[in-house]
Structures are given as C-alpha cells and as structure tokens.
C-alpha cells in the first residue's frame, strides 16, 4: 500500500526487474506498465548495440571490421564511445576501453569469433571516432564498453521515465543506479569483504551512484585472486578486496569513474571534482572519501 504522506522512496513504487546487461536491471517508479516496458526497451537497445558477447551487436562488428576500414555506428554507440575516449584522454589511459584482450587472458571475457588477432600494443589511442559516427581502428584491437555502457543504459531508461512524466524513480543495473525526483533514496553499499553485509547507507537524491568491487567477479589467476578491474596503463588487475563507489550527475559518469578511482585513489580528486563527482573507497583499512570529509562519528 502506498503510505499517505510523505511517501517513503521505496515503499510507494512498483518495481520490475529483468535479466539484462549480464545482471538484473531493476526499475522502481510510479508508472503504468507500458512506461516500464519502454524503459526496459531502452536498456535492451543498449545491450543489442554494445554487447561484447553478442556477435550481432555494433560493437562486435567494429571488432571484426573496423581495423580494415571505417564502420558507421548508431548515435548511441557513438555517444558512449565518445565519452569513453574522452575519459581515456583525460586520464591518460587509466580508463581504457581496449583492455579486453587482457580480460580474455584472465578468463573474464570469451575470445571474439571471426575478428583479426588483436595487436598487443593497441590502446585507446588507436580508436578513431570521426564525424557521422564513423569508427576506425588503427590496429586490430578489441573495443569493450562494459565499464561505461551499463551506466549509459541506466541514463537512457531514466530519460524514458522522465519524458513520460514520471516524477520520481530509480533504475539500478546490477549496482549502477540513478535516482530522480525530489525524494532521497537510501542506498546500501556492500561490504567488500562480506558482500552479505552493508558497509554504508547513503542517501541519494537526483544523482547516480555506481560501485565497482571484486566480490562477484574474481578468479584465480597465476596463484592469486584477480578481478576484472584493470589499470588501463599497466593492464594489471586491481585489489579484489577493495570497493569503490562514485556519486555523479549521470550513471555513465559514475560507472566509468569507479575504475579510475580504483586505479588512482586520492589522486583522482581533481578529476572527480571536474565532473561534479565524489567517491567512497572501502577496503580492509576502512573508509576514505574523495574529496575527504571530516571523520564521521560512528
């Protein structure tokens, strides 16, 4: 039942969830079923365009053909690729959407069928995005937008809900979430060492939050636990027992910036502030906010 006044942010909304983007995508909103369907359709479209696993996606086509000549992509794929390349330039390759061959070597991604062998020297600098969304690779490489497209999908679903006149709501794609409207949504951050516990509860209002951590995506490699989170410059996996949460104006930014904060730690402060973002790092030593806050009494 909807409580009369004021409605708690998660008590008064219908919730729906579908398996998409390799996770469960959940939408909470006071909206008719048709609007939910349209919001999920936006997420499905992002998946169809940018899935690394689907041979029919635009992304897979780029990986097969863009090293031989320019390939035109849709506006959405172009938009995500532009954002990925901008962040790669801004971070000098800490964020790099071409680390997929390393992830394949670590066992996190399957090899791409029918694509030319990736050049081990290839980086984001070998990806050209020209006018009218024409993409060309200077060397054979593997473009992978997993670290940013999920956030973009959340933003597109939020856009559908807002355009339909929905006043407040939440879209959560496996922990990359965005809320809109005037109410605060309490969000729990999993404890990196014990993901069955919440390590922090944060009120979120009209913002996006994404968390990257190793707890559900770790493998044994060469005798130690590794995650799918890499530093783009060194291509080395990052600490599996750390969790990074970023709050940002859009889910795309929040999603992408978690990887940068993971690699740079407090050195990411200027970058975060430039994007109107901030981060919370949880590890075995405790908590650290970037930019820092005064120690919080607990």
């Amino acid at each position: 039942m909807k409580s009369p006044d004021p409605a708690p942010p998660d008590g008064g909304h219908a919730r729906r969830a579908r398996p998409l983007l390799g996770t469960l995508v959940e939408i909470a909103a006071d909206a008719p079923p048709a609007v939910f369907t349209r919001a999920f359709a936006a997420v499905e479209k992002v998946q169809a365009l940018m899935s690394y696993h689907d041979p029919a996606s635009e992304l897979s086509r780029l990986n097969r053909e863009a090293s031989a000549g320019p390939v035109s992509v849709s506006a959405w794929t172009g938009e995500v690729l532009r954002a990925a390349l901008d962040l790669a330039a801004e971070t000098e390759g800490v964020f790099d959407p071409t680390v997929a061959p390393r992830l394949t070597a670590l066992g996190f991604l399957p090899p791409t069928a029918g694509a030319p062998r990736a050049d081990g020297r290839a980086t984001w600098r070998d990806v050209e995005l020209a006018s009218r969304n024409r993409v060309r690779f200077r060397r054979p490489l593997r473009l992978e937008l997993g670290g940013i497209a999920k956030g973009f999908a959340v933003d597109r679903a939020v856009e559908v809900l807002q355009k339909a006149g929905v006043a407040e709501g939440m879209v959560n794609a496996g922990g990359d979430l965005r809320v809109f409207g005037s109410v605060e949504w309490p969000v729990e951050i999993r404890h990196p060492g014990q993901p069955g516990l919440s390590a922090a509860s944060v009120p979120v209002c009209n913002a996006a939050m994404a968390t990257s951590a190793g707890y559900f995506a770790r493998r044994r490699h060469a005798g130690k636990d590794v995650t799918a989170l890499l530093d783009g410059r060194t291509r080395q996996p990052l600490d599996p027992d750390t969790s990074v949460s970023v709050m940002a104006p859009t889910a795309l930014l929040a999603d992408a910036l978690t990887k940068v904060v993971f690699a740079l730690g407090p050195a990411s402060e200027t970058l975060l502030q430039r994007h109107g973002a901030s981060a919370l790092v949880l590890d075995s030593h405790g908590f650290r906010a970037i930019p820092p806050i005064l120690p919080h009494a607990t």
Binding site: P8, H13, A17, V187, A200, A217
Partner: protein
C-alpha cells in the same frame, strides 16, 4: 556539500546491517502474465515430467531439470507461460518465461528475488518459506526493500534457466 557526509558508515568491525535476506517481490502470476502476453487469456496446464522428459531436457539444454512439477499455462492464441525457480550460489529467483508457439522467448520477467549468504539458499526449508508467496504478491511492495549499489550476482543462472525452459517446452509442452 560532500554527499558522503550524510552516509552512515558501519565501522570496520563489520556490524553493518545485513543485506543477506534481501528480498523483493516484483510481480505475481497474473501481473507477470500480463507483462509478457498483454491482454491474452491463460489456461492453467500444470504438468508432471517423466524421468525420460527430464533427461531429454537436460540433454538439449545442458542444464539440470530439478523439479518434476511444471507450473505452465497455455496462452490463448498460441504460446506458453511458465513460472520457475532458479538457484544461484547466494540467490533464489522466481522467474516467468513466455514462449511463443514457434518456441522462441517472448519475454522474461523476474517475479521474486531473494538473496542470502552461508548456504541457506541450498536448504529446501529456507526456500519453502517463500513458495506460494508470489500468488499473493501485493501490487505495492514492502517498506524494507533495499536499494543496493555493488555488483549484484550474475544473471548466468537466469540465462541457464531460460535455456532449460525452452528445452522443456520443446520436450513436454505441445500444441
């Protein structure tokens, strides 16, 4: 203002509130039917699988068919609607799958999601406490639903479940 200033941080002693036990009911049977086959009529067509059928489903899908009982509905105008459960390592998910008359997926909806840690999910008694709740699911949901930031579990088990139900339809649901 720094947004983390208002965070409630649980100290390193790990006395955070449990997420385990986190449970969401999304849709009841009627709602899931309407979500996947809007406006269609449904006729209950429950089914008990034979040992041969279970074997055939496993051979086709590569996924183990645990239950003998299948909660299936025949859709007016063709197709099938099936409610099923999948077990992950820490999660127990009730899902609805719509299958067209030609045997392709029409839609997948998550009906319930329950998460736990420490092996409870493998305990039939733990799961039994939720069975049947879907039927009576309220339109609006409990107050204690948690919004969680931090990778959820992979949807691999759901994907496998859908694959298994497609095989089940081909093997055991005809017409």
């Amino acid at each position: 203002m720094n947004p983390w200033l208002r965070a409630t941080l649980f100290p390193a002693a790990m006395i955070g509130t449990p997420i385990a036990g986190h449970a969401v009911v999304y849709l009841n049977v009627a709602q899931a039917q309407q979500a996947i086959f809007p406006g269609a009529g449904m006729t209950a067509a429950p089914l008990k699988l034979t040992a041969e059928q279970k074997k055939a489903i496993e051979a086709t899908s590569g996924v183990r068919q645990r239950d003998d009982d299948v909660k299936a509905w025949r859709v007016s105008g063709g197709g099938w609607f099936i409610v099923d459960e999948v077990l992950g390592k820490h999660e127990f998910i009730t899902l609805a799958v719509g299958i067209t008359a030609s045997g392709t997926v029409k839609g997948v909806e998550i009906m319930e999601y329950r998460e736990t840690y420490g092996g409870q999910v493998r305990d039939p008694k733990w799961r039994a406490q939720f069975v049947g709740k879907t039927k009576a699911a309220p339109l609006k949901l409990d107050q204690d639903i948690k919004n969680i930031s931090g990778a959820t579990l992979s949807s691999r088990h759901v994907t496998e479940g859908v694959k298994r139900l497609l095989a089940l339809q081909a093997v055991a649901l005809r017409g």
